[in-house]
């Protein structure tokens, strides 16, 4: 059974701090790892990672994948109150030649940024 574990489950920081969120996985036939941000409602896409060691970056957010050690990290620098959200990690695995886009999600990390 595919498994995705995120840590920490919750985190409280102050504005300006840097945070690192972790995602480890155990899946058969890994294809990709995705990060989402969820505020009040629908999760929104942040990154998709398929190759080890290549950093994806968007503003103050960055993410990297280690396929040998089976984990990914999401870094947020100079945090702002608007970064407060649940951060979700998900992994796509291939079964029978295709995945149909099926994802297995971790529990999520609840990030709270205080002014």
């Amino acid at each position: 059974e595919d498994k995705v574990v995120q840590s920490p489950l919750s985190l409280v920081v102050h504005e300006g701090d840097t945070v690192t969120l972790n995602c480890s996985y155990e899946v058969t036939n890994f294809r990709s790892l995705l990060w989402y941000k969820q505020e009040k409602k629908a999760p929104t896409f942040l990154f998709m990672l398929t190759s080890s060691g290549i950093e994806k970056k968007s503003g103050r957010l960055s993410s990297i994948l280690d396929k040998k050690e089976l984990f990914s990290i999401l870094n947020i620098t100079a945090t702002q109150t608007g970064d407060s959200a649940i951060y979700l990690c998900a992994v796509e695995a291939i079964a029978g030649g295709t995945s149909y886009g099926k994802l297995t999600f971790g529990q999520g990390t609840i990030l709270t940024v205080h002014p």
Partner: protein, 113 residues
């Protein structure tokens, strides 16, 4: 702009009722998904569909069924609602055979009393 809509934001039903949750996407996506989200458990896949009239069980299909009669619409059915089905239900869609990003609807918070 990409859009996934769900029929209700909040729903309160009684134990034993039949419940329909509707999801519509306007992106001509092949794949559609139903998840439930509970604190500490993340998103868990209930069912997904990769084509009209096609459906596959996810990780927690018990107590649920689905229907996909048209490409843009994917319905989740609770045949006889129970209190342990109180949850946030999220619908998502994605194109093609790979996990290009999934687009999520706003969610339906279902309470079963």
């Amino acid at each position: 702009d990409v859009k996934v809509t769900q029929s209700s934001r909040y729903l309160v039903k009684r134990t034993g009722e039949k419940v329909f949750l509707e999801c519509v996407q306007d992106m001509d996506h092949e794949n559609m998904f139903w998840y439930r989200q509970d604190p500490g458990l993340g998103l868990r896949l209930i069912y997904f569909s990769y084509d009209v009239k096609m459906k596959e069980k996810g990780d927690i299909p018990e107590g649920y069924s689905v229907s996909r009669e048209k490409k843009e619409r994917f319905s989740l059915i609770l045949e006889s609602a129970s209190t342990n089905q109180t949850s946030m239900y999220l619908c998502a869609s994605s194109p093609g055979l790979a996990a290009l990003q999934q687009y999520f609807g706003p969610g339906t918070r279902l309470t079963v009393t």
